[in-house]
Symmetry: C2
Subunit: 645 residues, 2 copies
């Protein structure tokens, strides 16, 4: 283990608290959101999504799987996939954060009820899984490639982290400790040399070890990270070892590949291990993978995963907008990695990518009622999808409409735990800087922030309609004698200004340090430009050659066919960028012409001896709306990248 | 059953012999290829591929699965997928056609040896499958969605068709008859109302019924076609009913969708049923599906299937070149459908698509030694693939190199049976026309053709280096008193000329009737233009916007990175089409400039606030070669569609 300077303040009640590094996040209770973009998403999560997930998993029998194990009734058919336990754990984590944030009684009661049923299914020796290891079931760890047993434990540990950091040790934490002890005994240096086909145990053990101060767990996380990439997992038919990142050791890999969520969970765990053990080479490896993958394998929305086939990253520059998988869970996992890298390095680029992903992947998933979700988040939908039935399990992760539940339903509960703890990613505290502790605001949301710093409490009142407007007004309510404050100026914010005690000035993308004393009553105003702007894809992205996108602030915009008159088609729109873009609401209006006349050749493949010619049709205006709101008015064709006239 | 005029000549020994319609194909023994493009492919198939498939299936134990059933030794693990029997049947079909074509002793011996082992595994009641229905195996027809039992029988019947039409009834035919009888009993109107997840039994039963004159088989084919599309197949996880075309009845569908090979085998069977029963509406339905799918869901190569995920068609205009699946088997299946539609209607467009598919999908699959194969046939490979080991089973259908065998290895044996019977698709005979019987030449290959017409034998000597040169010289060696001859002028052949007894004249794409008497010694010369030409994709194909392709005659060309100096990259090439294209060998040279200078933004997603600018770099020439030969010089990056400067 690496040795660290002692903390000057207690650790935050946050999902990620590295043992060292001198930079920490904040707890979800350190920032109370007061409405606004994230406040509303969080309220909807609290009031609708949590219960929705609970109801669906009760109805489908996924929770009752624990009862069947407890009752010794495991012979018959078992509903759900082999990894369905993890959904209950992710919901438990969401409930734990939610209770930590609000103290709502029903939330705690729901979590305690779940905990009781989970605990009753735990075997004497700590093993806990409803699909393996009991009468009539396959044996424990009999299918490490596909069985997801360690993956499920990893999610249990993350739930326990949320619990121990918000209310302290309880039954859930006890269950998790016994499960973690079992894993360490079973898979320790002298035990089973295997790894899990789906990474997650690494990040779970690392954080649970941090939360309990138990170095055995952290060490086991390190062992799992180091074992991976050596081809020990039995192949899954039609997939190669890169699917579960067992092709190249983490510290040797150059880029993320294979199943996106697996690659990203593994990377998050590797950062935890690197930070806690002071392994600079491992940290540098993940940073390198992040950079290459962001530069060449990431969508404009921040989405990751170009292939439906294996829910995976494609090759460099393989970024088709129509078949973009961009799983909601991969967006969440990307935030997990970037957050850990930001805490480890302080690099603003990680926070920039988190913002892009928050607004254009994570916020896009839930419907307005918090009871249906996008699983895949494509950037192009050719034809309007039919609505799904509100009581239907959606077989696939596609379709262009949000669905209440999925056959593999990882995204709703993942979203629930992320939204319940969203504030954790909004700011950091850097200890012992020249100004005392320095607070960095990373994400902008209206709310009241109260942070315990070394020399006292810093309280800020943040007012903003961000991202729908670019003004962020920060009033200092209370402040210690010495503290620093700096604001992230997003990389797209060309022309931002900052007003503080030293007057108004232009600020460049990156960090803007607030000048002048942070005293009660001081007001700081950051103005971020939110006029619509054109964004051009790299020429190497073949799938969007000859196209342009439009963004406003952190929001990617898109065109929807529901905004077109019936005689017009989205596929015929060609954007004229010779004039200025016009703002409309929080979207934009762009000038278009229709596509040139076409030569139809009945019964011939769609390739012609001459390019299309003819009149480009009348000029029209095409409405663009924020991408995160697409398909809220029913199924619709949609495009983010618009072909140029 | 529909009633037909009696034939004036015996039916050809061909894969497809409709009961009526007055137009028939020719048998593989009616045209002896003398070298040339298809002659060489066929020789390589005979001398290498047939033995290669036999050796691999023996080595992997797929043939021994029949022995295990015969020996009552079915308790243990069984090598191969549940559908591996079909590979043995496809190889049997290939051997049957090959023996019919050449009379080679070893071919007949190999087929008889296989037949003996197959026959020994047949149950008393005619059921035949090595994966289901015996001790320690799942029950018969216990998994119609995935079990492929009827699919396997369909391939057995196609093998028996080849046998009965080339040598007459033998043991293989007897085995097939008992299997077909079993299927009719089991799945007849009063029996199991199910269908097979993978169509193929339809086309097998229909043709076997034709070959034996057994209307029960044809009727059962009709029943299977009509039952489909009504949602009776149990869902396969993560796939919907369109995957196996159980979403919409065949006669109601507008377009092909789902798994491409399944969709196309079903369509082929539906044409057989429509023709044999005189069901004009069903025939029109398949014609409509063909037209819509060809116009909007077909690659420049003729390849079909845009998605790896389900080996399936995508949506209209979803034609990514990099992730094109274009399975070799789907190319073969497309030929099966187009051939049946051509026989039914005489429409030249079907033969045009067959040519495109023959040269740019089917011919692309086998390596020069006939011992490795492409499974997927993408139109864009971003990075050069590593070679596969010559003894390795390739886990996946991708990779940019030909592989000796695949985990799912449907393509090698499918290719073998298709190449062994390729001549069958080269010409048709239309009976009782004004000129007596009229012969239509559809595909051009050097060889000796001898056709038994109503009034005597027509013998032609065809000399051509097609497709590498555009001259086709046809000498009449023998001819009856009355007969007609016409030549297909491909749809791309702008500027073709024909010399015959009436002199030389321009001919338009479509049919060119030969004028003047067809008498011994007459010489007809068709000149097809084979200069390189530009081909422009429809504007609605998003994935190749701003690109152009180059073709020569029936050959699609491509650029390979192995032809570039080490300091140049295929992704940087931008084609300048302002000047003429230059022919080089059977390829072309195009002028290019390198892409504009790029703005790199480390750690940022690949989207910029301004389009790329700067010097476009020096002019260079880029070499293009026929697509079917790509990756023959080792792994290579490759592009068919070239971005425009």
């Amino acid at each position: 283990m690496h040795h660290h300077a002692p903390r000057s303040t207690p650790p935050p009640a946050a999902p990620v608290v590295p043992l060292g590094g001198g930079r920490r996040g904040i707890g979800p209770d350190d920032l109370r959101l007061t409405g606004g973009f994230w406040g509303e998403l969080q309220e909807r999560n609290a009031n609708a999504t949590l219960k929705h997930c609970l109801e669906w998993m009760e109805r489908l029998g996924w929770i009752a799987n624990f009862d069947r194990v407890a009752d010794g009734d495991t012979g018959g058919p078992r509903p759900g996939w082999q990894f369905s336990d993890s959904e209950i754990y992710k919901l438990a984590e969401a409930l734990a954060w939610e209770y930590g944030r609000t103290g709502e009684t029903w939330v705690n009661e729901a979590l305690e009820a779940l905990t009781g049923r989970i605990a009753a299914a735990q075997d004497e020796d700590g093993y806990l899984n409803t699909c393996y290891g009991h009468a009539g079931q396959p044996g424990r760890y009999s299918d490490l490639s596909s069985g997801h047993e360690l993956y499920c434990v990893g999610h249990l540990l993350q739930a326990a982290v949320a619990r121990v950091r918000t209310v302290g040790e309880d039954k859930l934490v006890d269950v998790a400790r016994r499960a973690a002890d079992h894993v360490c005994r079973e898979f320790g240096p002298d035990g089973n040399p295997g790894i899990c086909g789906h990474p997650e145990i690494e990040v779970g053990l690392a954080e649970f070890g941090r939360a309990l101060g138990e170095p055995r767990y952290s060490e086991q996380a390190r062992v799992f990270v180091e074992r991976r990439g050596r081809g020990t997992l039995a192949p899954i038919a039609l997939l190669d070892a890169s699917y579960f990142q067992d092709d190249v050791p983490v510290r040797e890999a150059e880029v993320w590949r294979g199943h996106a969520v697996r690659a990203l969970y593994l990377a998050a765990g590797a950062v935890d291990v690197a930070v806690d053990t002071g392994d600079a080479a491992l940290l540098a490896a993940v940073e390198r993978q992040w950079a290459r993958s962001v530069e060449r394998r990431t969508y404009l929305t921040g989405g990751m995963g170009s292939r439906h086939q294996d829910e995976g990253f494609g090759e460099d520059w393989e970024l088709p907008p129509d078949r973009a998988y961009c799983e909601t869970c991969a967006g969440i996992a990307s935030v997990m990695v970037s957050w850990r890298l930001h805490l480890a390095t302080g690099d603003v680029r990680y926070a920039d990518l988190m913002e892009r992903t928050f607004y254009n992947v994570i916020a896009a998933s839930p419907a307005e009622d918090g009871r249906s979700f996008f699983y895949a988040n494509p950037l192009h939908q050719r034809s309007a999808a039919a609505d799904v039935r509100p009581d239907a399990v959606n077989p696939r992760a596609e379709g262009g409409v949000r669905a209440p539940w999925f056959d593999v339903s990882c995204c709703p509960t993942n979203l629930a735990r992320t939204l319940a703890s969203w504030q954790a990613y909004a700011a950091t505290v850097e200890e012992n800087t020249a100004e005392g502790d320095t607070v960095s605001l990373l994400q902008y949301a209206a709310g009241e922030m109260r942070l315990a710093l070394a020399e006292g409490e810093l309280a800020l009142r943040i007012a903003t309609e961000y991202p729908h407007a670019g003004t962020v007004r920060i009033e200092v309510v209370d402040a210690p004698a010495r503290s620093g404050l700096r604001l992230r100026v997003p990389h797209w914010a060309d022309g931002a200004t900052l007003s503080d005690g030293s007057g108004e000035r232009d600020v460049e993308p990156g960090w803007a340090d607030v000048r002048g004393p942070l005293a009660p009553g001081a007001v700081i105003v950051l103005e971020l430009p939110t006029a619509p702007r054109l964004t051009w894809p790299d020429e190497r992205i073949d799938a969007v050659r000859g196209c342009v996108a439009v963004e406003r602030g952190p929001l990617v915009l898109c065109a929807e066919s529901v905004d077109l008159p019936p005689d017009q088609s989205l596929e015929d729109m060609r954007v004229d960028v010779s004039g200025p873009l016009r703002a409309e609401g929080d979207g934009a209006l762009v000038r278009t012409r229709s596509a040139p006349a076409r030569t139809e050749s009945p019964g011939r493949p769609p390739y012609r001896p001459a390019p299309p010619t003819g009149d480009a049709g009348p000029e029209r205006e095409l409405r663009l709306i924020p991408y995160y709101r697409w398909a809220r008015r029913g199924g619709s064709a949609m495009r983010v990248f618009l072909p140029l006239a």
